[in-house]
């Protein structure tokens, strides 16, 4: 028996019920608010979070995810390999490991990097808890509040909260079909020079960018690396999708072009094997790597040895490239299905990218359509996408959307795109009536076009950023 405090309120039914001091009393709002760090105050709005939460409901066809299709991985392989890890290595698998990662997993990492033309030593590597941790560690290591980070516009939505939580000032550089506009980058760097501010690093996903789906051209890769060298500026090259190419020739990574001087390379097993393993890595110049290592030790001591030993087994006993080949086949087909569906169901006022790899297509709608609101409407028809604002930190992106094709079945892609197309047409027609313009005609009612995936010229809206991808500058 404990001695109760005086009940704080009337108890029902004559029972004496004590209420301990309320853990979450309403007055505590103000108290907690005073305790939160300033960096928490700039996090994403609750409205957008609430909206995204609905996309997870089972009846919703979600093109909002960014998931690889793990159902393609043979379950029997997984259980057999895990059993072997358990039988041979239980004690180590269950133990802490070194912060920089087990030697066993560095072999597979070097193999993956070699497949993309990169040569590294085990000591160049830090094994991390997913690629996401690299972004966090790089910010932790380099960013003081107010420091400038350069990113693409749009940028990986998952990087935005990391930048925000370290209070970075993010400058986003527009893209076209050849990736980040280097001419715009140079203008921005000069503007920052004039303001006496030097960016700490440039964050880029050069291949099959998330979310835009575009790939940085070879020429721009060279120029970007040249700028990094000239200005002694670090580049964080985030390359989760490089192996998932569906057409065209592979391009050298920035890390290769740079000679490992100013590029921090981020790799991951998430898209070529499994995100559930939570294993990524980075390769970086040694002084930077040492600092990242310290940061990682503080964050989580080490990444899962169980996962690391599993990866080792998997690379020893299975053909990882064959599995990547299988994934590539599935995703290529799904990309093509989505491109066809977009051509069939999206109105002619819309434009979108045609990715040569990766998981995403980025679409842009006329500038009077707000894709956050459109998502609310689309959810009534049980279909979801990521509203463009999630990929910008400066309020842009209101008319854009990210569509994922990797984690959705063929039929769901067709049906999902059809439903989105329908709600867009509904809004176009309504807008037409409100402004007295002709009701918007849908592309579906017109003869099929020859090159469905190339953006329509009519769609070039003033102030557009990523799309339409017609300029060849840089």
């Amino acid at each position: 028996m404990t001695i109760d405090e005086t009940p704080r309120g009337p108890a029902p039914g004559g029972e004496t019920t004590s209420m301990p001091p309320s853990r979450s009393g309403a007055r505590d709002i103000e108290r907690y608010a005073g305790l939160f760090a300033r960096r928490t105050q700039v996090m994403k709005s609750s409205a957008m979070r609430d909206l995204m939460a609905v996309t997870a409901r089972p009846e919703v066809i979600s093109l909002a995810g960014g998931l690889p299709d793990t159902s393609t991985f043979p379950a029997e392989d997984f259980s057999a390999l895990m059993a072997r890890v358990g039988a041979d290595d239980a004690a180590r698998a269950l133990q802490y490991g070194p912060t920089e990662g087990l030697d066993e997993v560095k072999g597979p990492i070097m193999e993956v990097m070699a497949a993309e033309g990169m040569e590294v030593e085990p000591d160049d590597l830090l094994v991390t808890t997913g690629g996401q941790q690299v972004i966090d560690l790089v910010c932790k290591t380099l960013i003081d509040p107010g420091d400038v980070v350069i990113a693409e516009a749009p940028t990986y939505p998952g990087a935005a909260p990391v930048f925000v939580s370290y209070q970075a000032d993010v400058v986003q550089i527009e893209m076209d079909e050849a990736g980040m506009r280097i001419d715009v980058l140079e203008q921005e760097l000069e503007r920052l020079d004039r303001e006496g501010r030097a960016p700490k690093f440039i964050y880029t996903v050069p291949s099959f960018q998330n979310p835009a789906g575009v790939t940085l051209s070879l020429e721009r890769r060279r120029r970007l690396v040249e700028i990094a060298h000239r200005r002694e500026l670090l580049v964080l090259e985030d390359n989760p999708y490089g192996m998932l190419r569906y057409e065209g020739e592979p391009l050298p990574t920035l890390y290769t072009l740079d000679g490992a001087e100013f590029v921090i390379y981020l790799g991951t097993f998430s898209k070529i094997l499994s995100p559930g393993l939570r294993l990524g890595w980075c390769a970086a110049p040694r002084p930077v790597l040492d600092k990242l290592n310290l940061g990682k030790g503080a964050a989580d001591l080490c990444s899962s040895p169980l996962s690391q030993l599993f990866v080792r087994r998997y690379f020893d006993e299975r053909d990882w490239l064959a599995y990547v080949g299988k994934l590539t086949g599935v995703y290529r087909r799904r990309r093509d299905i989505m491109l066809e569906a977009l051509a069939e169901h999206f109105p002619r006022e819309a434009t979108w990218t045609r990715p040569q790899g990766g998981l995403f297509i980025w679409a842009k709608l006329p500038d009077f359509i707000d894709t956050t609101d459109l998502l609310a409407r689309a959810l009534r028809d049980h279909v979801a996408f990521v509203p463009g604002r999630a990929a910008y930190l400066d309020g842009r992106g209101g008319t854009e959307m990210r569509l994922n094709f990797s984690g959705v079945s063929d039929d769901a892609i067709r049906e999902g795109v059809r439903r989105i197309g329908e709600v867009i047409r509904e809004q176009l027609a309504l807008y037409g009536r409100l402004t007295g313009a002709e009701p918007a005609a849908s592309r579906a009612s017109e003869p099929a076009r020859e090159a469905p995936a190339s953006p329509a010229p009519a769609a070039e809206a003033p102030g557009s950023q990523v799309l339409p991808l017609r300029r060849k500058a840089g």
Partner: protein
């Protein structure tokens, strides 16, 4: 008692509802009740049939839970439930209906015009927009009639912004509201039924931290908006705000509790009622619990009272 806490559902306010529900469950548990948590979905009737709760605590927000749908079902099943009945829910969930009712009863509410999608599609309502723009002055606030959160609310600074704002609002509902914008202070008056009928709780003022005037989204975010309770108002103004809230509560036919949102016009000093919420948020950052606490009513006591009222209303 065995209490079913209805929460979640598929409205856009699902997340807030889950947080409200969890906090209510916790309080009911401390009060010694048997709690059954129900995430509302297609199996709702079956679950209630199987569980046979003595009373249902409705912690749903938005479409489905706050618009009378669930309340009608509970009436049908004969399960006593918390807060307002179907008709008050329908009136309050639809801001247009609520504003008409308030205006008819002489409760001041900002001037407004409302349209259904059909009006634009079948009756050429677009032709009437210039006249509205003239009467309301810019900026005009455009809102979906039936959305409880800040989603879909847009400010049209010029005539060019109006069509896009209307299209956005129609994303949430088949009816939209164009309302005169009131520049001023943002007040919330919670009403809780006591032994002597409805009582207005201390007034909460929401003060945005960053001075971006139009940032509705930050309104109820910890750290981005400061809540002052009781609001620092002249006695006469506070008294008038409480009167208006009670009058709105009565006119709209609310029961148990509700939160009435008002604006205090900085220029004219005039108070107007924007809307009433029949199931206001009950999370640890929500305004009704904050106001109750300021009145000396802890969260447990608040929940206990709302539950008693549900039982008291139930037919014998």
């Amino acid at each position: 008692m065995k209490v079913a806490v209805l929460k979640g559902g598929d409205s856009l306010e699902r997340q807030v509802s889950l947080r409200s529900g969890a906090r209510v469950e916790d309080a009911l548990d401390r009060l010694g009740h048997e709690v059954v948590a129900v995430d509302v979905g297609p199996d709702l009737v079956d679950r209630l049939g199987a569980e046979r709760p003595d009373v249902a605590f409705v912690a749903l927000h938005g479409r489905g839970g706050e618009d009378g749908t669930v309340q009608e079902l509970l009436e049908l099943l004969g399960i006593p439930y918390t807060a307002s009945g179907p008709s008050a829910c329908m009136r309050c969930m639809d801001k247009v209906v609520a504003k008409h009712a308030l205006r008819d009863a002489g409760v001041p509410t900002p001037d407004f015009y409302a349209f259904s999608q059909a009006a634009f599609e079948e009756l050429g309502a677009a032709r009437a927009l210039p006249a509205i723009e003239e009467r309301l002055d810019f900026p005009i606030v455009v809102k979906p009639a039936g959305q409880g959160s800040a989603l879909g609310i847009k400010f049209a600074a010029t005539a060019d912004d109006v069509p896009g704002a209307i299209v956005a609002a129609f994303s949430y509902d088949t009816k939209v509201l164009l309302e005169r914008h009131v520049a001023g202070r943002d007040l919330a008056v919670s009403v809780l039924e006591g032994p002597d009928g409805p009582e207005a709780l201390p007034i909460v003022e929401a003060v945005p931290q960053d001075e971006s005037f139009y940032d509705f989204e930050s309104r109820y975010e910890i750290g981005r908006t400061r809540f002052i309770c009781p609001a620092d108002l002249p006695d006469a103004v506070a008294e008038r705000a409480r009167e208006l809230a009670l009058e709105s509560y009565r006119v709209l036919g609310c029961y148990g509790f509700a939160r009435v949102d008002l604006m205090l016009d900085s220029a004219s000093g005039e108070l107007t009622v924007l809307e009433a919420n029949v199931i206001p948020g009950l999370t640890d950052t929500s305004l009704l619990p904050l106001a109750a606490e300021a009145a000396g009513i802890g969260f447990g006591a608040l929940i206990a009272r709302v539950l008693e009222l549900a039982v008291a209303r139930a037919p014998a």
